[in-house]
């Protein structure tokens, strides 16, 4: 008897004493089950919330860019009629890229489509404005391009957001959630660019043109390709063919066509082609740092790069690059002091490259690549 009683008492004691322990176990057990069964659903819920917040930000940004463009067309461009409807049509205009299943000759086709689009943009902007100041027209083009990009970004993010929600696809949503901070950063850079463009301030991308404009100042300039000018000058016995887009308009010009013309049509036999351009820095790298290299230093869709590489390869001319590091934000907004002050050092590097890689009596092509807004020659 006594032994039975003592056992049951012991059991009771255990039960009451460790009730909290059991509760703990039950709690964590439940948590485990919830996590197991509803974990992804919970994560999806958080992802949806976060994406929708980001999407809202993108919507505000693209609306602001659109409004900025319209305001500029009306206030500075003195558009006759209300340009709102035309601008909205513009934002949804599509450029259909050529088919790439038969890649031979593809670059020429891309060039054709892109050139057609650029001409159409300029013609449309020209017809909207009640003046033909080329700076104003080029700024309007750029503002509309920024607004179009932001419109596209917003549309694509919204597409995947709605698709993920509709199909309850955890992975679509989580991927989008992870990309969101980078997308917002890029959109923010674009929106900031509109401020610099409206003011006509040189942007970070214009560092190449800034450097070569010093070589062109006071020399006779001639148009060598669409929106692109060239001057012939001399440095320590070398004949320099210096080119950049025609500033102070917000042009990037056609350096590829220009270099092809110099090498093939003008019969110039350069012993080097030196290109100066802005380059995206990696996180942690300093803004305004200078890097040297070989190859065609030019961004964009690839047409210009192809043309330059082809011209250089055909004529067996080495391509040298001088790059100024900057972030995407710094490249498309007003030029930072660190970048502007790199101009002197870039000029020194350029002189050294010319001295080291060529001899007296040689011909050298120097190209300043980038947007020449606010940088004349």
């Amino acid at each position: 008897m006594t032994s039975v009683m003592s056992i049951s008492a012991a059991v009771l004691q255990v039960t009451s004493g460790d009730l909290t322990t059991y509760l703990y176990i039950a709690f964590f057990g439940l948590l485990f089950v919830v996590q197991f069964a509803f974990g992804t659903r919970l994560q999806s819920y958080f992802a949806i919330n976060e994406i929708s917040r980001g999407l809202n930000k993108l919507r505000v940004m693209k609306d602001k860019a659109r409004k900025d463009a319209i305001d500029y067309l009306v206030n500075v461009g003195k558009a006759q009629a209300d340009p709102t409807q035309r601008v909205d049509q513009f934002l949804d205009y599509v450029t259909i890229m050529p088919v790439d299943i038969d890649p031979s000759g593809l670059v020429g086709k891309i060039d054709h489509v892109v050139t057609t689009n650029n001409d159409r943009v300029r013609a449309e902007v020209g017809s909207l404005l009640n003046q033909n100041n080329p700076v104003t027209v080029s700024i309007s083009e750029n503002l509309l391009e920024v607004a179009t990009s932001l419109n596209q970004i917003h549309k694509i993010v919204r597409h995947f957001y709605l698709l993920g929600k509709k199909t309850n696809s955890y992975f679509t949503l989580v991927q989008l959630q992870m990309l969101m901070p980078m997308i917002i950063q890029e959109a923010d850079a674009l929106l900031n660019a509109t401020d610099s463009f409206r003011m006509g301030e040189p942007v970070g991308d214009g560092i190449g043109p800034v450097v070569v404009s010093r070589f062109m100042a006071g020399k006779e300039k001639r148009v060598i390709a669409k929106d692109t000018v060239m001057a012939i000058t001399e440095y320590k016995g070398r004949k320099l063919y210096v080119l950049k887009a025609d500033g102070p308009m917000a042009y990037v010009g056609q350096p590829g066509v220009a270099i092809q013309k110099i090498v093939s049509e003008m019969g110039v036999k350069p012993s080097a082609i030196v290109m100066i351009d802005a380059a995206l820095k990696l996180e942690g790298e300093k803004t305004g740092e200078i890097a040297e290299g070989v190859g065609a230093a030019i961004g964009g869709i690839g047409v210009e790069k192809f043309q330059i590489e082809e011209a250089a390869t055909k004529a067996k001319v080495p391509l040298y690059a001088i790059l100024v590091k900057q972030s995407i934000l710094e490249a498309i907004t007003v030029m930072r002091k660190e970048i502007a002050e790199a101009a002197d050092k870039v000029a020194e590097v350029l002189n050294r490259v010319i001295e080291e890689k060529t001899k007296e009596g040689d011909e050298v092509v120097v190209a300043g690549i980038g947007n020449t807004l606010g940088v004349a020659q």
């Binding site: 301030e201 040189p202 930072r336 502007a340």
Partner: protein, 67 residues
């Protein structure tokens, strides 16, 4: 997993300056940027030798830096 979308990167306010340089004596003057300024544009007379200066640089620095 619950990383949050950062707000639009709040940078310190940027002030934009135009640097005028005299091609003869190299005298540099720094003034606030005005719309219509561009690099190589003819600017005011050089305070030292009264030759016509030209805009040599346009750049921005943060308000904090310039004091």
């Amino acid at each position: 997993m619950m990383s949050s979308v950062p707000g639009a990167d709040r940078k310190s306010k940027l002030l934009v300056y135009t640097i005028e340089e005299c091609p003869v004596c190299g005298q540099k003057t720094k003034r606030a940027f005005t719309v219509g300024d561009y690099i190589t544009k003819e600017a005011s007379k050089c305070p030292k030798c009264s030759n016509t200066a030209r805009v040599s640089l346009v750049y921005a620095e943060s308000a904090k830096q310039s004091g």
